[in-house]
Chain length 666, copies 2
């Protein structure tokens, strides 16, 4: 089938008739933000947030403009309205709060504020001492006309104002014209000449956890002390308190479904599995069931429900993997052969990267004749089924290899009934596709963070994430490692390297994640690759979570600092500052109101102490270069006074390869 | 009246039904350039130009995409089409030529190229030596299906291809599948699965002079040797050859209409004029006529026509000022009092900036009840009247104080009949408004260039003009001075300063302009102001154009260099390069095909010699750092060989404060 996008009509008419030109807005409203692709997609926000809208609003000449921001929840009928403030150079800024999750829309309205223009001129002329009797008469005329177009009490008040003005001396009239009471009455009676209305733009307001959360990933089958005994959901209970104490919010499991037998992979991704090898959980489906089922060795559905409840008691939400792929034993192959692609010899088409074959996994064909709409509905029902079991967060495997319209529909459809549901895109692909997944509805995404190591790389990436278009559509979840990614930097960095990456992730974004083993500084790679040796994807890997050299205490403290400091609840509001050492990345995170300001310095050298002169960003606080400020080390609790803008730091990785300081006015 | 912009419907539907999702394009087409505000306005181009279109085009998975650019002149019905090439990271590039002035539209089409995907896989597998018999069968099936959906000769050719393939050995089949002939046939039969079509976007194609022109401004009344004798059109004939020899294309006159008597300004903008003071030509209109008339002291209509013709014989187009303002003696005040604003005492409203009054000039009210549509039509007729006299270029005075919809209509309306007409915006206002005037139809604009003096200021400004959004909508005309602007830099710079600014203007943009006197290094200011002492706006100023110390020869050579080097025919294609001296701005201009590459170094210090090490941009030419290149000094004609990337320059302002070199492969 062909999914065809119909070309829009040419909105620009080079032969503009006068009748149409007279209907064009005299006031231009441009460059409104946050807007994605002209409003084709919704910009992201979280419940409770003050959304800041900026725009360029201007007209010919020198008249004063009235510029308002209007907004409403999509489900509401009536608009809220607030005055926008002028920033200079035609910039205007408005703010409004979005208290609840769901969709909102906003737009801008502007008109020529004739009474404000009059008052501005009157004040100038009165101060300059020029004759103003005509101006006063014009002002009274404005009040009279406003009364005439009003009704009821307002009409009476404006009529009274007009009478009052008529009886006053010139200087008294000026004072009354400039009084807030007059502006208030005239504003109520404003007929809003030259009203210009922007298009309305959508906002997708999610719950706070969409922007601020710490993820912990584990394989439940590895929660065992014996590699021969398959861990279960019940075993996971023993880990909940520890994970909570480390400060995590989300506990994420790779697929928990029955695992196929055909072409099962053995240890280290070997092509043949022994009879006791557990297989990759990403080879989903066996005769015991598919995406809706639970792998029997993990426990029962009842066990799962109890684990979800116990996790909630520990402040943890369970996130599940949504991997739309099947082992060759998945029931769908027999029930719905039309959902798959078949070869001329009757065999199923599986993934290949010649000469490699991935026979343990086959993919569905979303646009196969037999797949529309049954496959789409079935996949939706799989998700909703898990939502009904209390799972509100899904980490989606390789979403960029499934059609964008599918995600746009599925996410919207699920969230229409369950607005609290969130989707994390496990996409490592081109920047345009990663951003687009955010546009079509993904709450957050995996990132390139894992491969950004140098100061320049990190500064550039952190900055890019704070800028348009990414800031409107893409929330980065900084995973420091995953079962698939054992970063090269950590292979030789030792413990200090793990602390470096943990500090960068926790301070760099509101969202970060860790795959278990990171806290134990595990880093043994498949030689020459960024993969884990003896990968947990293919075998059961018990761990000693109390092994010496672990960084559990530091992770707990980093997460504590995050919770206590609102500036760290988002990747936004980050600015790179000057530290004169290419091995030290130094940045600040600051809330919009400036009330919480965190400075972070991370040495990127895990081996040698590094020193740097650096600048305190006093200018951001409106302070002079010689101001005194209070500093507080958020790792140690130490406090001190900083004198002036230029400071010195020394970072010793043998002790702690970063510093996190809260700065405040002395 | 109220010009209301109706809000568009919310195109983003958060509750997307499945039936609608299935119609969404599987292939995303995003970030297409050049596009202004989603296609609301036309991007700028010039006739004969190769327009380059870039876009991000991508879909899920790994299939090969076919991406085409389609375009047509708006007046044509059929589309032209060309293949776009892949740039990496989902980027695609297409090019097409726009031979004629007028409006064009373009759009992008993309679909999944199944045969290309097949060939890519087949080639990989064949090289890897894996079994391919199934692949060959699938390929033959594709050919067979293509034949079945084709007709006539194509069907026969594809059927023959299928038969031919069926009789070949595997390796021979691979070779035939990969042959261009097979791709060509299959491409003709492509059913374009998953076709995605972008919106169509407009282009405004103007004649070459819109992008590349040198303007010379003079007051015809000053072409006299006696300040008591008013110069005439007939006097201007004597200047044409000189102006042509200096290399100018456009000869621009301030308003040539009758000048009001009431409140006429005297010398140096004084409030009272003597009986022989000529007045400001911007106080338009007297009992002798208004905007359609010619000031009697300049000559007759016949004189004007002869001057237009004589100028054309010298390769010069006459540009007129279009200043929509009236002296209090303008006939419109009596004929159309409803076009103006009146005070309660029956007097007319004039411009003020308290305590200053500008009584010599009154402005029309475009939205007055009596002004719609008669004022708009009258102003259009004024312009068309001069177009009919052979004037195709208008410099518009203060367009930002007149309504944007008026310009959008007027420019479109005039150009619908006379596509060769161009408008230059004399706007010195906010960046947003200046860009918007370009969007609504202005061909080019005055700029901030006059106030950009330091290396950082100039580098930033030149770069900004080369970037979106300005590059799509705004063509800068670098005037080095105007009757209103006597730049502070020139007050003390001496002759070298005039050469510096001339070099920056002529090399920085395809459009530059000069107000007469600049070539004589005139710079006497009103003390403390950027205004000319004894401004020509209020008096007749004869000049000795052969005065010693003039820079006429240098201007002529700069304009000659511009004509001979296509890279200098536009402000685009400019890159700032490294010269290690903050007093030396060093940049390159390069045509898109790289065939013309000009390097410009300008010392910004008019007093002291400056030296710098600098880099030849060998990397832009695909050359290694130790390559040899040919250099040519375009002012002196000297030629030499440059060895390697690092070079040295010394610039002595006493001789020539800049260098202009053409670099080419040795």
């Amino acid at each position: 089938m062909t999914a065809e996008q119909h070309p829009t009509d040419l909105s620009y008419n080079p032969h503009l008739p006068l009748s149409q030109a007279l209907l064009l807005p005299r006031i231009a409203i441009e460059s409104t933000m946050p807007v994605i692709e002209g409003g084709q997609f919704a910009a992201k926000a979280v419940a409770g947030q003050d959304v800041t809208v900026t725009s360029k609003v201007f007209a010919d000449g020198h008249d004063k403009l009235a510029v308002h921001i209007l907004w409403r929840a999509l489900k509401d009928e009536s608009w809220n309205s607030a005055v926008m403030t002028e920033l200079g150079n035609n910039g205007w800024l408005g703010q409004f709060n979005v208290p609840e999750q769901g969709f909102y829309v906003f737009r801008i309205e502007a008109w020529i504020d004739q009474f404000a223009s009059f008052r501005y001129e009157l004040e100038k002329k009165f101060a300059a001492g020029v004759p103003i009797s005509l101006e006063l008469q014009e002002g009274r005329n404005q009040v009279q006309m406003a009364a005439e177009r009003s009704e009821g009490e307002l009409r009476e008040q404006l009529t009274a104002l007009h009478h009052e003005l008529s009886g006053l001396l010139p200087a008294e009239q000026v004072a009354l014209f400039l009084a807030p009471r007059s502006a208030g009455l005239m504003s109520q009676a404003d007929h809003r000449p030259y009203l210009s209305i922007s298009p309305q733009y959508p906002l997708d307001v999610e719950r706070k956890l969409a922007e601020f959360a710490s993820w912990y990933e584990l394989f439940p089958r590895s929660i065992t002390d014996d590699p021969k005994r398959h861990g279960t959901f019940n075993d996971v209970h023993s880990r909940l308190a520890v994970i909570q104490d480390m400060g995590f919010d989300v506990l994420y499991f790779p697929p928990i479904h029955p695992i196929g037998r055909s072409f099962r992979k053995g240890p280290n991704n070997s092509l043949t599995a022994g009879p006791d090898d557990p297989g990759s959980p990403y080879a989903i489906g066996s005769e015991e069931g598919g995406h809706e089922a639970i792998h029997p060795q993990l426990g029962s559905r009842e066990d799962f429900r109890r684990l979800v409840a116990a996790a909630a008691d520990h402040g943890l939400e369970i996130a599940l993997d949504f991997a739309i792929q099947c082992s060759q034993d998945h029931p769908w192959l027999k029930q719905h052969p039309g959902w798959f692609s078949w070869r001329p010899d009757g065999t199923i088409k599986y993934a290949e990267n010649p000469p490699k074959k991935y026979q343990d996994i086959v993919n569905v064909d979303f646009y196969a004749a037999d797949a529309i709409p049954s496959l789409w509905l079935e996949l939706r029902d799989v998700v909703v089924g898990w939502v009904n079991e209390g799972v509100k967060i899904f980490r989606v495997d390789n979403p960029h290899t499934k059609p964008l319209p599918f995600w746009q529909w599925l996410i919207a459809d699920v969230r229409a009934q369950h607005p609290e549901v969130m989707f994390l895109a496990e996409a490592f692909t081109t920047p345009a596709m990663m951003a687009r997944l955010g546009k079509v509805g993904y709450s957050q995404s995996y990132t390139y963070f894992t491969w950004r190591n140098t100061k320049t790389e990190l500064a550039t990436y952190f900055t890019e994430l704070n800028e348009s278009p990414l800031r409107e559509c893409y929330r980065p979840n900084f995973f420091v490692n995953t079962p698939d990614i054992n970063p090269a930097f950590l292979h030789e960095s030792g413990r200090a390297g793990f602390l470096i990456r943990a500090a960068l992730a926790t301070m760099g974004s509101g969202l970060w994640g860790m795959y278990s083993g990171f806290e134990l500084c595990e880093s043994a790679p498949v030689p020459g690759k960024e993969e884990y040796l003896d990968s947990e994807k293919y075998e059961i890997r018990p761990r000693d979570f109390t092994a010496p050299g672990n960084i559990i205490a530091e992770i707990a403290q980093l997460n504590r600092i995050r919770r206590q400091n609102p500036a760290l609840h988002t990747h936004l509001g980050l600015t790179i500052y000057n530290a004169w050492n290419d091995n030290i990345l130094y940045f600040g995170k600051r809330t919009a109101d400036g009330s919480n300001f965190i400075l972070v310095a991370v040495s990127l050298d895990p081996h040698t102490p590094q020193e740097a002169n650096f600048e305190l960003p006093l200018w951001e606080m409106g302070l002079p270069d010689d101001a005194q400020t209070q500093g507080e080390d958020l790792m140690s609790g130490h406090r001190w006074t900083w004198y002036g803008k230029y400071q010195f730091m020394r970072i010793d990785p043998a002790y702690q390869p970063f510093g996190i300081w809260r700065i405040s006015v002395a």
